[in-house]
């Protein structure tokens, strides 16, 4: 019933797709975290207009399906002179989408630092920049670990949607193997297994990292 020869025959195609998934996710996540930080700085402004722009961006990207965003980028991009390859569209899509979530994660992280610590730092003569660098940011980075890991897992799973806009990642590879061999069970079982392994590994790694970092925070 489970034909192992399909796997032994097609594993290079599958592994190439898997590598692409990992690379695209890594790029999308790194860029998304950076763009999210820029967004957070805009949203943290004292002025009303940047704050409204921030809220608009976050609401828009969190309130619509990733599939719709990807279709708009992929089919709409050329209308705006944006001719990107499928892979570039995929990375850009994950970046714009993930940033909305990461910006909100940073915001929650900063909010969870007790106000008394900032006052204490100021009373000790630290400048606002020093307070930020030595008191707020290190703690914020530790506090947001669980949310960042969660979001990373979500993005890895959602990257399967990129197969719909023909990005050559692992789901696309599985679909291709399935159509070439006329078999359904093997490619999809291996595909699900691969995602499950990646997600479990990221989750376990995140827990270890969290435990290591939490030693420095007393609550």
């Amino acid at each position: 019933m489970f034909d192992i020869t399909i796997i032994t025959q097609y594993y290079p195609l599958f592994l190439k797709g898997l590598l692409n998934t990992v690379l695209i996710c890594a790029a999308g996540l790194a860029l998304g975290m950076a763009w999210g930080l820029a967004l957070y700085s805009i949203g943290n402004s004292r002025l009303a207009i940047p704050r409204a722009l921030y809220r608009g961006y976050v609401n828009l990207f969190r309130g619509t399906p990733l599939l719709v965003q990807l279709f708009l980028l992929f089919y709409g991009g050329p209308y705006f002179g944006l001719n990107l390859s499928a892979i570039a569209t995929g990375i850009l899509g994950l970046t714009l989408y993930g940033a909305a979530y990461f910006a909100e994660i940073y915001r929650a992280g900063f909010q969870n630092i007790p106000a008394g610590q900032i006052e204490a730092a100021q009373d000790l003569g630290m400048s606002p920049l020093q307070t930020m660098l030595h008191v707020q940011i290190p703690q914020m980075l530790t506090l947001i670990i669980p949310s960042v890991i969660n979001q990373t897992i979500l993005i890895i799973k959602e990257s399967a949607i990129l197969s719909i806009i023909t990005v050559p990642e692992v789901t696309t590879a599985a679909v291709k193997i399935s159509t070439e061999t006329f078999s359904i069970v093997e490619p999809y079982v291996v595909l699900a297994g691969a995602y499950w392994l990646i997600v479990t590994a990221v989750s376990r790694g995140g827990q270890l990292w969290e435990r290591r970092q939490m030693r420095y925070i007393s609550r």
Binding site: N59, G63, V68, Y75, Y79, I161, T200
Partner: protein, 216 residues
């Protein structure tokens, strides 16, 4: 340059798609809520076999992409000689997926309840089922409401994927309109706007519900 009139002229199709998206998502959320409860009790059970089965189920559905789950259910069912319409396959898959997520949300809620309440209820002569229904579930529902509403919004958004198995939801309708009018930008922008209105409304309704439940 842009012509939204052509897209909006197709409003009966868009509304039909939006209704399909909304109704299928909400049905799946409700089924997932009931099934999620059972899974949650299963994972907290003292029987190792039941506990491990539920943990494995939850781990699988939380650890693999919804798109892969949809393909598996859609293509595997005919292999087992089960032929159901794609709408049914979509609801089945969305429910099975959200049940895993809701089970974990609910487990967090149950574990946060003070243990003394259960002991007190037992001393007052409540049966285990009565304790669950009258003491734990109402409190857990209230405590986990924000997370459950988030999950509802997630499922509504993720339901766009059921368009890939030929369910005529909002996404599918906008794809049809895009290819018949040759205006992909406008039709996907309109679809995005409709999704946004739906998720925004659920979010607002959730805030209202939270505020009401907090007062009473």
């Amino acid at each position: 340059m842009f012509d939204f009139g052509v897209i909006l002229a197709q409003y009966p199709q868009l509304l039909k798609g939006a209704w399909q998206t909304l109704s299928l998502s909400l049905i799946s959320i409700l089924i997932g809520f009931v099934f999620g409860h059972l899974l949650c009790f299963g994972k907290m059970s003292e029987r190792p076999l039941l506990r491990r089965t539920c943990a494995l189920y939850i781990s699988f559905f939380r650890g693999t992409p919804l798109l892969v789950q949809l393909s598996i259910i859609f293509y595997f069912l005919p292999l087992a000689d089960i032929n159901i319409p794609s709408v049914l396959a979509a609801v089945l898959c969305l429910s099975m997926n959200t049940a895993a997520f809701q089970a974990e949300i609910l487990r967090g809620g149950f574990q946060a309840l003070p243990g003394g309440q259960v002991e007190a209820a037992r001393d007052l002569g409540f049966t285990p089922l009565q304790i669950r229904l009258h003491i734990q579930v109402p409190q857990v529902f209230r405590a986990t409401l924000p997370a459950l509403l988030n999950e509802t919004i997630d499922i509504l958004k993720n339901s766009a994927l059921i368009s890939t198995i030929a369910v005529t939801d909002l996404m599918r309708m906008s794809q049809t309109i895009a290819s018949s009018t040759y205006r992909p930008v406008e039709s996907f922008a309109v679809a995005g706007a409709i999704y946004f209105i739906m998720t925004y409304a659920i979010g607002k309704f959730g805030l209202y519900l939270e505020r009401r439940l907090r007062i009473s």
